[in-house]
Assembly symmetry: C2
Homo-oligomer: 634 residues x 2
């Protein structure tokens, strides 16, 4: 508490490390059909390629940017005020919502009126919005009406990343060719149109998590025909952490690329922590409402009631939570299927509900009241993330009867949610050896009628505590390739403790790698250009460009500078790994020069052996004249 | 040099961190049919499972151990003396070798007689061994004669890891069930016999790198019908490092699980560095002889000659190098195929040979003299690692004409080596997106007639410099699953600088994860028991056991202790991630107790719903009596 008191007394300062633009990068905006649709990107500027003739310019690279206003030097960041309400006008213009006098949840009102929380509380000037009586304000509902919302157009521009400018001969010449992918049924058009976005949402194959009470969020989409997304978890526990740390983890996580953030707080002041995070989050925020509900009944699972849970849903929906993890698939009859597992039930929500079911010997209220939950979600546009409460917690328990029985029930609940036009994604495992991963993806697509899959890992082995970002990054890359829409990160602290800021970054970068590797393998039209641009920079010894095009320029630069700190080394045609004589890239460039005379680069020489032979003989002559001079030391 | 002078003046001390037994572990030996076949293992002892009744013992876990005598408290380690010559008697008993008066290479003699090297030189008391005139001393030659060598029996015991004791009902009861694997044609027998080892070697599907001049090495095998192996690289460069550091990297690398070590030194005193490493290495050592040959001609590739290279092969073979990377597949006509790549030629050896070919406009002497190279290898039993000099250095260049043209030539060279009974493995890429990895494995098996594949990574994306242990760990796990026999590690410093000891450890652990994930997916009979044992320990809150069963107990413990340092927390039924109220494993155990009455654990309850219902009702009653007491804070 002292830490938190300090936090506000010091008047909520943003983490300084989280507000600098990334090296060599600037924030740019692409405007849509209307002035208030301004889609942010990060543009990485590159230095020219030095050639024997005139230098060749390298076009800047546009990358998807999750960091929101934090990396925009023109933005005025004040955590106490929160972010600007980007979507306020769009929501209002639809005319299907109204402002309430205040929180309509009993708990929300109580917290709002508790004077002892004054120093903790975010100074919220806005009252909650809710759909007018009888209205449905979900993006799925609009999509099915054939309405293209500003959110959908925003997403189309964001996902495109100007990809139309790619695939041209000019780009191929500069960046090298692109491999066709293997999509396992994914449809990745060369251009993403607003209509394509609408159609994917209408079909239930993608969701846009955007609660009307979270107008600060920049619209994003989760579906297997779009870029693979990642989620970063944060949240305090009874044992450690404070509001300040959690807000820092959020701004830190989105800086490195987290597409959504889940607040899994289970400790003190969950309500207030969430408010601070939501008001300052440009990405969708997800929660597991049962955690807070359990706090409300002092951690006694069997004391949970539908009424307490219902009030929690409304409380969180009116704060602006964009998606709820609901473990409604844990049925009484499935619980015994877990009893002989090596690791039983490892989902917190799943174990809580299993215990409730056993105690009362009744079906879970999440299942029996599911339609009422849909009624709540559709009035705020909260998307479902149907939780896999019976996911395997060990390789041994993967793909077992309990796990797949629950998946079938999640498919049934998906149909119910869709009848209410409520958006749905499905959560997945867990711990799964590589050869059993694809079955998870295929079964999920079949049982849940192509609703987006959102998986934790999966971890491909249990034997590396301390490295589970890696054991799971392997599985995450593979399931992303097979069609998983969002990958929930795992940090090095998994199974061992609560992640700190460094762990959050390591988890995010690892999962950005997995998501990008998946996009490449699927053949996403905009994916490979970044690899090609970085590899070209590497081959041309444009060290700064190589660092800046990477997922983590700071670490790349620091590693390089450990052995060669001087600026001179940033243009040197070698690094400390091989030294000047042994740099294959240096030699290889000499080889290239020896094969091609200037200008000949674009001729299809493979087909023209004689010309090559002749060119090589001439060059061999030249080599002999130059001799060892080629190996000048730097 | 000062560093090195210090190194020997201080009389070569072993890295203290590398000689402690791992936590909870002791060295045990399994003896074969003769007393001098003593196969070392690491035995991890486990604490008992606490139950309501009597504690249940958990059997100790036997794991493959690459650390040699360094983790044996009974061993007397003195780097100046080197390791005991484990295989000396076996080699001598075959009667097909003789000791030479001294090095037969011109360079070896010169170094031996150079007084200025006295302070650097390992005090070698043994002269080199060589096959008697007309003899062939390769394990492949023996295997084809139907001879089962002590090396083969040693390997059979080592690979078995007492797996016959597994798969029993008792083990299944204690450790949980085992998934059948997907082997893509791999044959993984329930028991590895010496005859099976012999047969795999005779067929060329596996190799045993064991130069007769490296009798200190503990026999190991590389083949897809055995445990997937990993290699760690070390070696100084012109820019940095010393002999002392390189020996430390070797002892550090094998401690964490490196099955072989490649010495890629390119800086000063390569010969002396290698001697120190070989005399103290219990694992096979590989080199790329062209690096040293290039040093001998002052780094001028075009000055390389067959004579200089031949002398280098003999020099290294007589020191005891177990496998040579030879880039004999880089043919003149393939060089132009690389000219339009994004990253040209990224193999150091490949680029050196390409340059030589262009300069002289002749086919490489590695190719034209390949039969003579075989004649050298068979007299010392040096295995080939046929290098992929044209491997792709970027995702864009993956699976291109240059790469696959060279692979076909490597297949042709494999047949030549096999005609000489010389053991062969094939090196592979490189940078390859996930969907193009399997084609590499399938083409290698086809072109090289199932000779073992040995790949670097592959890296599945180019955009994460600083994290290429992860971008490549993903690809390594997948290609290991598809059938790759050995995975060459990549460290976080890849593309940026020379790895230090921490980078070596990170690379090794990452690759142990990849190799084990591959063994699991292939269905290796001895693989999953470690996952199950660790997961059971995790579920039962045996924290120390969980740490000790992991690949890196030190890091796991350190992460846990960051937030909960007290010893009490090592038995606590929660960690800082969720805190006491939210620990799913704790709740789940209560659920299990509630489903089963004592002793009922082994009844197939899934089939007996009524009994379960009844049991649950009784337990529900019990729950109600106990109430919130279940949530006692610790």
């Amino acid at each position: 508490m002292s830490k938190t008191a300090h936090f506000l007394a010091e008047s909520a300062r943003v983490d300084a490390a989280a507000v600098q633009p990334l090296p060599g990068s600037r924030k740019v905006f692409v405007t849509g059909t209307r002035a208030d649709i301004r889609v942010p990107f990060r543009e990485i500027s590159l230095s020219p390629t030095r050639t024997s003739g005139a230098d060749e310019q390298n076009p800047p690279l546009l990358v998807y940017d999750t960091s929101g206003p934090y990396t925009d030097p023109d933005a005025d960041i004040d955590l106490r005020k929160g972010l600007p309400e980007l979507r306020r006008g769009w929501i209002a213009a639809r005319g299907d919502t109204e402002f309430l006098d205040g929180p309509s949840s009993e708990f929300g009102r109580r917290r709002a009126n508790d004077p002892t929380l004054a120093q903790l509380r975010f100074d919220l000037t806005r009252t909650p919005r809710r759909a007018k009586e009888g209205k449905n304000v979900t993006q799925l509902h609009y999509a099915r009406q054939g309405i293209i919302t500003p959110e959908m157009e925003f997403i189309a521009i964001r996902e495109n990343q100007r990809r139309q400018a790619l695939g041209t001969q000019e780009v191929e010449r500069i960046l090298g060719h692109r491999h066709p992918g293997q999509g396992f049924g994914a449809k990745l058009p060369e251009e993403i149109t607003p209509e394509f976005v609408r159609d994917e949402v209408a079909a239930g194959r993608a969701i846009i998590p955007c609660n009307i009470n979270h107008p600060e969020s920049e619209p994003m989409i989760i579906g297997r025909n779009f870029l693979v997304k990642i989620n970063g978890n944060l949240g305090n526990s009874a044992v450690t952490s404070s509001i300040e740390e959690e807000v820092d983890k959020m701004t830190w996580g989105i800086r490195w690329g987290s597409d959504t953030i889940m607040d899994l707080s289970t400790g003190a002041n969950i309500h207030e922590t969430r408010e601070w995070i939501l008001r300052n989050a440009p990405v969708p925020i997800g929660t597991v409402p049962i955690y807070q509900a359990l706090e409300k009944v002092n951690g006694v699972a069997e004391d949970l009631t539908w009424e307490v849970f219902r009030d929690t849903l409304i409380e969180q929906a009116e704060q602006g939570v964009d998606y709820f993890t609901i473990h409604a698939g844990v049925l009484l009859r499935y619980v015994p299927l877990t009893a002989r597992r090596v690791t039983g039930i490892v989902s917190r929500g799943g174990s809580i509900m299993a215990k409730w079911c056993l105690f009362h010997h009744r079906e879970s209220f999440l299942y029996t009241h599911f339609e009422e939950i849909c009624e709540i979600c559709k009035r705020y546009d909260v998307a479902f993330s149907l939780g896999d409460g019976l996911r395997p917690g060990s390789v041994a328990d993967a793909n077992d009867a309990a796990q797949f029985a629950e998946l079938e029930t999640l498919g049934e609940l998906t149909q119910i949610a869709w009848r209410h036009d409520v958006q749905v994604m499905i959560e997945g495992p867990g711990h799964v050896p590589m050869h059993l991963i694809k079955e998870n993806m295929d079964k999920q697509l079949a049982e849940c009628d192509e609703a987006p899959f959102y998986t934790l890992g999966p971890l491909t082995t249990d034997i590396a505590p301390g490295y589970d970002h890696i054991t799971s990054g392997i599985g995450a890359a593979m399931i992303g390739w097979y069609g998983c829409a969002m990958l929930c990160y795992v940090t090095p602290k998994e199974h061992l403790g609560l992640p700190n800021k460094d762990d959050v970054k390591t988890g995010i970068i690892t999962y950005k790698i997995a998501a990008h590797a998946a996009d490449l393998a699927k053949g996403h039209p905009a994916a490979q250009r970044r690899d090609n641009a970085l590899s070209k920079a590497r081959f041309e010894f444009r060290w700064e460009d190589q660092f800046n095009l990477g997922l983590d320029p700071d670490t790349a630069r620091a590693y390089h500078d450990e052995t060669l700190p001087k600026d001179a080394a940033k243009v040197a045609h070698f690094c400390s790994m091989c030294g000047p004589k042994f740099c294959s890239m240096k030699i290889s460039q000499e080889v290239r020069d020896s094969v091609f005379k200037d200008g000949a680069r674009d001729r299809g020489l493979e087909g023209d052996r004689d010309a090559v032979r002749k060119g090589m003989e001439e060059q061999a002559e030249k080599f002999r004249e130059q001799g060892a001079a080629l190996y000048r030391e730097v």
